[in-house]
């Protein structure tokens, strides 16, 4: 049941994608879907591109092999393009989850990979430290930690991403 739900969510995300969909984007969109109470139960941890699920990465490979997705290497040698495969239509999402996925796409579907990466990292760090830091200090601490995890992003960029998440009630 859970496996079917996972596949249906990934297919729904691939069908609704509004920009080029790479593995990083899928990772982050699934991350936000899971945090919208879609019970996918992927274990996420911070990796090079922010929150990352090794199980999801493995499943993307399997879905490619089974023809549910097409995962094609970028001709320049790095990155992947993900689209729906010929057997994707077998997997339909229940309406209650479909609405949640549409909301995730609505909120994050036009973000660049960089925005998604930083937003997901902010949300992950926020979720970890909110338990141990007074609420008044959380924002500054999250921005500091994300800056340390993502040194190439400017503080302004991180702050903007933080504000977007605040406006959408993610944090």
């Amino acid at each position: 049941m859970q496996k079917e739900l996972r596949v249906a969510v990934i297919v729904a995300l691939a069908q609704s994608a509004q920009t080029r969909l790479g593995k990083t984007q899928v990772q982050k969109l699934v991350y936000f879907a899971q945090n919208s109470a879609v019970p996918l139960e992927y274990g996420y941890e911070i990796y090079h591109y922010g929150p990352y699920s090794f199980d999801l990465a493995r499943e993307l490979g399997s879905l490619d092999a089974l023809g549910v997705l097409n995962v094609e290497s970028d001709p320049n040698g790095f990155g992947f393009d993900i689209s729906v495969g010929k057997f994707a239509e077998k997997f339909k999402l229940e309406a209650k989850y479909q609405r949640k996925i549409e909301k995730v796409i609505d909120q994050f579907g036009r973000d660049t990979a960089a925005q998604l990466e930083v937003k997901a990292t902010i949300h992950f760090v926020y979720s970890v430290i909110k338990k141990r830091i007074p609420s008044g200090k959380i924002k500054a601490e999250v921005i500091k930690k994300v800056g340390a995890l993502k040194p190439r992003f400017t503080e302004v960029f991180i702050r903007n991403c933080y504000s977007d998440l605040e406006k959408m009630d993610w944090i």
């Binding site: 790479g22 593995k23 990083t24 274990g43 996420y44 941890e45 911070i46 990796y47 090079h48 591109y49 922010g50 090794f54 990465a57 493995r58 993307l60 490979g61 290497s73 320049n76 040698g77 790095f78 990155g79 990979a113 960089a114 990466e117 992950f124 760090v125 970890v128 430290i129 930690k145 340390a148 995890l149 993502k150 040194p151 190439r152 992003f153």
Partner: protein, 421 residues
């Protein structure tokens, strides 16, 4: 700080500082002497008696070599000062040394037993418990390392950027754990397929800016190390097909797990109790229950035997055909003892952990799969088998072979994969 050295068949000598040696001397770590790295594989390959104890030391040594190589080449790029280098080197050594302390008896062979907690989580708990935590905290004054810092390697909630970086050395696709287990398992089992040029591989490690645009520094391979990397991937592939998925070893794993389900039922969640569980304790339990069929089959080296196997790589049609065969056997051989085994593994995880190799001409990174035809061409291992006692082997074999040939797609008799041996 005084150094102690330990002889090791792969590394020659492994050096420990005083506190590391105190950690090695704790009951938590000494327990690993009594957990064989390859479970009951030594009943097939007599040399494979090595333990998690030596492996853990070896992982620490490999991790240190990888770290030192990266620091030698990229210290400027990382912009770490000496204190940060020293701290991270020690942090990595401790995490590598302690990574397997949570392993259950017989390593992975008994991991399925409840409560089903991953050994990494139990390792984390051991690191945070006495006596190990106090010893790690000895590094606090000089290096700022606490037990919580080491435990964060095994926590999904880690948000320390240095630990994220160090985890790549310790648990990536080209990682210290894999280098050690492949080489050590190969050496002790006497199966030479597992050897590869690890020195060349480590020497060719480098850091690159993440080509996906995140700007983080990630580990990659210089082009000169590509063949060493291919050799490591092939080593892993052959070690799985020849050793880890050996038919007799799989049969012993089955008997072992069945025995544990009956007489251990579940491992304790209290660390104080868990630490008492090692291979010796389970063997003692088997002797106590030596009339049990699974215990007897292990103790008298009389496991079920393979009556049928699919090829190592199967397609959708063969997978369906095997499921059909399984259903038919359940119906037709109700009075015969049979178990089924599924051996599945990907020979590498480059799909999961994107790994880059540098172009010899431009220095630009590209994915390992794009550069290596050998890696691209390797198929997943997926092999299904039927096991039964020796006495019923021939009749089960005959039935399976006939069924497999009669129901093959296309020409009859196209894929007869098994035979008594």
């Amino acid at each position: 700080m005084q150094m102690k050295e330990v002889r090791d068949p792969i590394h020659g000598f492994i050096y420990f500082n005083e506190t590391e040696m105190k950690i090695v001397n704790t009951p938590t770590f000494q327990r690993l002497r009594y957990i064989r790295q390859l479970a009951l594989t030594y009943l097939v390959y007599p040399g494979a008696e090595h333990s998690r104890f030596a492996h853990s030391m070896g992982v620490m040594e490999f991790a240190t070599k990888m770290f030192d190589t990266l620091m030698m080449k990229h210290l400027g790029q990382l912009r770490w000062n000496k204190a940060r280098v020293n701290r991270n080197r020690q942090l990595l050594r401790l995490a590598a040394l302690l990574h397997d302390t949570g392993h259950a008896p017989f390593s992975h062979a008994s991991e399925d037993l409840p409560p089903g907690i991953k050994h990494e989580e139990i390792s984390r708990q051991f690191i945070l418990a006495q006596p190990v935590s106090s010893l790690i905290n000895e590094f606090k004054r000089a290096l700022g390392i606490t037990a919580h810092d080491v435990a964060s390697f095994f926590s999904a909630e880690n948000i320390d950027p240095d630990v994220v970086f160090l985890k790549g050395i310790f648990a990536g696709e080209i990682d210290a754990d894999k280098l050690d287990y492949l080489y050590r398992d190969s050496l002790f089992s006497g199966v030479h397929y597992g050897r590869f040029d690890y020195q060349r591989l480590i020497q060719s490690l480098c850091l690159i800016e993440d080509p996906e645009g995140a700007g983080n520094l990630i580990m990659a391979i210089e082009h000169g190390g590509l063949h060493a990397l291919e050799a490591m991937v092939l080593a892993r592939y052959f070690m799985f097909t020849q050793v880890y998925f050996h038919k007799i070893r799989r049969a012993y794993d089955h008997h072992l797990l069945d025995f544990l389900r009956k007489y251990v039922k579940k491992y304790p969640t209290s660390l104080k109790e868990y630490v008492k569980y090692d291979d010796n304790r389970i063997f003692s339990l088997m002797r106590t229950h030596s009339r049990d069929e699974d215990a007897k089959r292990i103790l008298t080296r009389n496991p079920f035997v393979q009556a049928f196997t699919t090829p190592e790589h199967i397609d959708e049609e063969q997978r369906t055909r095997f499921n059909w065969l399984q259903e038919t056997l359940r119906r037709e051989f109700r009075d015969t003892k049979i178990f089924y085994d599924a051996a599945e593994k990907s020979p590498h995880k480059f799909e999961k952990i994107e790994t880059y190799v540098l172009s010899p001409s431009t220095g630009a990174p590209s994915l390992v799969q794009a550069e290596s035809g050998i890696i691209r061409g390797l198929k997943n291992i997926e092999q299904y088998r039927v096991f039964t006692p020796k006495e019923s082997k021939q009749k089960v074999h005959n039935f399976c072979t006939q069924f497999w040939n009669d129901h093959a797609a296309g020409a009859a008799g196209a894929t007869a994969a098994a035979g008594p041996n």
